[in-house]
């Protein structure tokens, strides 16, 4: 016979999904949030997004010595996520350093995609925050870009603004609406499991409601909703905590992980020195992910539970 046949282990057909296609889906899902960021925060936001993605992709291309800077798309996702958690107006060099740090320390010291323990974008954000705290808490109002405090730090605002995103905050985390749109798409595509965002948002809501020290039921409920919509919970719950690489793989583990993130976030918000705790909460839960996986190994088929 003229052509040599290929022999390999079964199965002989594969689903069409690849890492690249998953990453493209995530980029699509992040598009509404990025768009909202650009609409609210203008050119600054646009530049930050472009710089973040470019920096991450170029760094990865250099490390992997590849010419195609898009590659499997994971660096683009990391860069975009990083840009979305940065304040709208930051110096350009900070974004570039952030992208490089995310890809190197967040990912490639572990051996590249899939091996990292911590979410690269959040690792970079935390490092940037600790290094240049002045820039990293410089919040501005949407549209007119005047300096202002975030709702979490006490600025008052309406639920409508919180939902749409017309509030001071990080570039991509203000618009709950845009984030839910993207998160829904990912859920529909099956790339994320409801347990992580469900556990996360649910816990934040419950703790926000119950730990409100005074007031009637309506006041308590609105406090819960406020904590869900304000700050980075939505972005964190739908896109950061659900990062496949750094979250548990077991169904029970995912729920525990989501709840853990929620508890940590609320503890830091209510009792800690930082007004926002999403970054630290998710990094902490990333760290215990291997332990969660170990403890929630599924009951193997046919095994009798005693």
């Amino acid at each position: 016979m003229e052509t040599k046949l290929v022999v390999s282990s079964s199965p002989h057909i594969r689903a069409s999904q690849s890492i690249r296609s998953v990453m493209i889906d995530v980029l699509v899902a992040l598009f509404p949030a990025a768009l909202a960021g650009v609409i609210f925060f203008r050119w600054g936001g646009f530049l930050t997004i472009i710089l973040g993605m470019l920096s991450a992709m170029v760094t990865e291309a250099i490390i992997l010595r590849k010419k195609n800077i898009f590659g499997d798309g994971s660096a683009a996702v990391t860069g975009l996520l990083l840009a979305l958690v940065l304040p709208p107006i930051v110096p350009w060099w900070l974004v570039v350093i952030g992208g490089a740090v995310a890809i190197t320390i967040g990912k490639h010291v572990f051996g590249g995609i899939g091996n990292n323990i911590f979410n690269p974008a959040l690792t970079a954000r935390a490092i940037l925050t600790l290094s240049w705290v002045g820039y990293m808490v410089h919040w501005v109002r949407p549209i007119d870009l005047a300096t202002s405090a975030t709702p979490l730090a006490g600025a008052s605002t309406s639920f409508y603004n919180l939902f749409v995103g017309a509030i001071p905050g990080s570039l991509g985390e203000t618009s709950a609406f845009a984030l839910i749109l993207g998160g829904g798409w990912l859920l529909y595509k099956g790339h994320i499991d409801w347990r992580i965002p469900g556990g996360y948002i649910g816990t934040v809501f419950v703790m926000g409601t119950l730990l409100k020290s005074s007031g009637n039921l309506a006041g308590m409920l609105s406090a819960g909703i406020f904590h869900v919509l304000a700050g980075g919970v939505m972005l964190g719950a739908l896109f950061m905590a659900t990062d496949m690489v750094t979250s548990p793989v077991t169904p029970r583990g995912k729920l525990i992980f989501g709840i853990g993130c929620g508890v940590m976030t609320m503890l830091i918000r209510l009792y800690g020195v930082f007004p926002e705790g999403v970054t630290f909460a998710i990094l902490l839960m990333n760290a215990v992910t291997p332990l969660i996986d170990k403890l929630t190994m599924p009951r193997k088929y046919g095994e009798v539970t005693s």
């Binding site: 110096p91 060099w93 320390i105 010291v109 490092i127 600790l130 290094s131 240049w132 705290v133």
Partner: protein, 199 residues
């Protein structure tokens, strides 16, 4: 030749920090500034040198069975002396180093060298070994301190290097930065070691 070897191995080939991974606690804790690293390194060197000297002198007199407790007492004595000296003559440095001065006593390098070297070799070799190891330790700490100070503060030994416009990479002044900087430097050392076939 042998003496030279005893001396130099501590500097590079068996560098206590980068090759043997010993004495990590003070290495990480006090290297926020190059000067602190230097101070810590020299204090440790002093203790190492004196304890190696005394142990080598007494190596035939100390009973085999209780040698470890004896070593610990000898080391602890010198640590206490160094502690007092620092407090008297370098109070600023002493307060910067804080609890890590008395903790020199549990630095694995010192006990390790006492047991592995000083208790078996003559006085001169032991002292040279102690000096080499100590200086290797000092060098590593100062280097790490300089890197962290430069990145985290823009200065080395308080001399401004990076210019006024530098926005310091603050994290390297904080505890997490200590871990990350040392981790990255260690990887760098691995690359160098491979290149120069030190394995």
């Amino acid at each position: 030749m042998s003496l030279m070897n005893d001396f130099s191995k501590g500097l590079v080939k068996e560098n206590p920090v980068f090759r043997l991974v010993l004495g990590m606690c003070p290495t990480l804790a006090v290297t926020g500034l190059a000067i602190n690293g230097l101070g810590m390194g020299l204090s440790t060197t002093a203790v190492l040198l004196s304890s190696n000297l005394v142990i080598s002198v007494l190596r035939k007199a100390i009973p085999e069975k209780i040698r470890i407790p004896c070593f610990i007492i000898i080391i602890a004595t010198f640590v206490t002396i160094v502690d007092m000296l620092l407090k008297a003559y370098q109070p600023a440095l002493h307060s910067q180093l804080g609890i890590f001065v008395p903790l020199i006593v549990v630095n694995c390098i010192i006990l390790g060298r006492a047991e592995a070297f000083a208790s078996k070799y003559p006085v001169v070799n032991s002292m040279v070994d102690g000096l080499g190891m100590g200086l290797g330790f000092t060098l590593s700490l100062t280097l790490l301190g300089a890197v962290r100070e430069l990145l985290g503060n823009g200065t080395i030994f308080s001399a401004n290097i990076m210019g006024a416009g530098y926005q310091p990479f603050r994290i390297f002044s904080f505890p997490p930065g200590a871990f990350i900087a040392l981790g990255l430097m260690m990887a760098g050392m691995n690359i160098l070691a491979k290149k120069f076939k030190l394995e």
